[in-house]
Symmetry: C2
Amino acid sequence: MATIKDLAARTGLSTATVSKYLNGFTLKERNALAIREAIAELKYRKNDIARSLKTSKSRAIGVLIPTLENPFYSAITSSIERTLMESGFSTIICSYYSELHAEREKIEFLLNKMVDGIIHFPLNRTVDYDILKQVDGTVPLVLVDRPIEGIECDVVMSDNVGAAFGAVERLIALGHRRIGIILGPDDQYSPALRLEGYRLAHEKHGLAVDPRLVVRGDYSMTSGRDLLFRLLDGENPPTAVFSTNYETTVGAMLGINERGISLPERLSFFGFDDFALSTVFRPRLSVVAQPVRLIGKTSAELLMRRVRGDLADFPLRVSLDAEILVRETIGPVAAE
Amino acid sequence: MATIKDLAARTGLSTATVSKYLNGFTLKERNALAIREAIAELKYRKNDIARSLKTSKSRAIGVLIPTLENPFYSAITSSIERTLMESGFSTIICSYYSELHAEREKIEFLLNKMVDGIIHFPLNRTVDYDILKQVDGTVPLVLVDRPIEGIECDVVMSDNVGAAFGAVERLIALGHRRIGIILGPDDQYSPALRLEGYRLAHEKHGLAVDPRLVVRGDYSMTSGRDLLFRLLDGENPPTAVFSTNYETTVGAMLGINERGISLPERLSFFGFDDFALSTVFRPRLSVVAQPVRLIGKTSAELLMRRVRGDLADFPLRVSLDAEILVRETIGPVAAE
DNA sequence: TTGTATGCGTTATCAT
DNA sequence: ATGATAACGCATACAA
C-alpha cells in the first residue's frame, strides 16, 4: 500500500506538503498535478487509521440496537447509516439481542474502537447505568426511543402518548365506547406511554377504562393474534381494537383474516407503524405511524452536532410526532 | 484517556511490559496485579486505533448491502454481525441503495477505513468490475447471493435452481400441470436460476412450460399481488402458483386473502422465504426457505478464514440448500 | 521476566 | 508555498 511518504518520494516534495494537498490546501499547480499523477500511478489510498490516531477522531459511530431482525430497528438504523454516511462517518452496528451483559460488553467494544459517538436503543428497563455513565464522560451519547433515568443525555423519541391519544380519539369520535388495546411488556418503556394516551383520550371524553379491554403480551406477532382473540372472545367484546406495535398489528390482522372478520363493518381496527405490510393489507390499514426515517435522521444529526462540539440545548429531548393515518379499517360503531 | 504509558508510569514498569501483559503474556504476579490496579484506577481503555496502525489489522469488516430495509438483507446482515462479533471483529455497514456509483464510492470508503475484508451483496448485473478487482488485490472479498463474472473470489449463495426445482416438483407430484411462477427483474441474478429450476422440474416430468404462466415484476409486494392477479385472470389460469421471493410472496398472499381464495382448495400456493410473516399466515404457508442465518454465518466465517490467511480451496463457491417447507397451502389439483 | 528503542502513516508546529 | 520534525498510542525485535 502506498503512503504519503511514497507520494513525497515520487514527486520530490515533502510529506508535509503532500499531506496539505490531500487536506485541501492549494499549492503550486505544477506540484498539485504531480501529486495527482503519483496518486494514480501508485494507487495511493489514504489511511484513515493513521489519520484517526493522529487526530483522535475515528469518524465512526457505534449503533447499539436490540436486533436488526425487526423492521422498527432496522428502518431506523438504515436511516442513521444514510445520514452518517453523508457526513463521512461510518456506522458500526452492534446487536445485543436484549441481553443485558451483551449491552455492557458491546459498549466497551465500541469505546475501544474509539468511536466518536454512540447511538443507543435501550430496550429493557434494567440498564447498566454504570457503563452508560462512563460513555457519557467519553463520547457523546444519543438515546433513541426512550430516556434512562439518571443518564443525562440527548434523547430522540416519538410522542407515544400523543400517538395513542390520537388513534383512540378517532375511534371515540366514531362512536366507539369499548375499545380494546393490545400492549407490550411491562418492562419496556413505550407500552406505559401508549396506555397513558389511551387513558387520556377516554378521560377527555368522559369515558371509563374497562381493564378487561387492556391486554398485554410480548409485542410479538403471535401475541397480537392471541390477544386479539382474547379480546374478541371475552364477554362484552370491544367494537374497536387498537394494537400498539407493528408486530402485534400484523399478528392481529392475520387473526382477523383468519376469522373472516370484515373491517370496518364488524370491527374497527387501528394499527401501529406503517411498514411494508401495513401498506399492502386490504382493506387499507388505519395506523399510527412512527416517523422512523425522521427518528434515525434526527438522532444521527444530533449526534453529529455533539461530535462537532456543539453542545447547544444539551441535554436535548426531541419528541417527534407520529402520523395518524386514517384509512379504511375504522368506521362508525355498528348499530346494535 | 489513559494510555499504556500512563500505566507504565503508575506501576513503575515499562510500556513494553505493560503491553505484553495486555496481550496475554504472563508476568510476575506482583506486576500483573499492579497493572490491574492501575487499569482500574486510571480507567484505562485500550486504543484499537493505535493498535490497528501498528499491526495493520483493523479487525473491522465492511458489509456492503443494497439496503437494510428488506428482511432478506437485514437477516443475513444480522447473522454476519453476530458471527463477526464472536471473533472480535466489528461490522461496518454500508447501504448502496442499488445505486451503482454509490457502490464504488462506498467500497473506496471502506478501503480507506482499512477494513480487513469485505462482504458484498451485488444486486445489479451491471457492476463496477474495476473497483472490485481492486478490492481483491487489497483485502479478501466474499460475494453473497451471486457470483460476478471476471471476479475470482469466494461466493456464498443458496441453491436457487434446486430450491425452485424442489417446490415445483412437489406441485407436479400433486397433479398440477399448470403452474404459474412469479419472478423478479431480468437484471438480477437469482430470477433466472429460479426459472431454471422451474423448467427442469417440468422437463423431468415431461411437461411443457407455458410462457403465459411465467410472469416477471420487480420483486416488490405490489408486484406480487398484481402478477398473481394477472395469472389468475388470464385464460386457462394456473391451478398452482409459485412466488419466488419474500416480497412477492407476501403480496400474493394478501391478494389471495383479498379475493377470498381458499387455499389449497381453489389454488395451491408455494411461497419463498420463511420470515416472520410466512410463519403467521393461515393456512400455514408452504415455502422454500433460504437458509439466511447460515448464509450470513458461512460468509462471515469464510471471510474470517481468509483474513487469517487461510487460502484453502480459494476461490470457494458455497451453495447452501434451501429448505422445502411443505405446510398447508398446497394440495392436490381440484377435480374438474 | 523485563526494558530499550523504533516505527506504523498521518497531521501539525514551526521554520524557511 | 514548502520542508524538517515531532508526536499520536501501540507492538515488537532485540538486548539485558
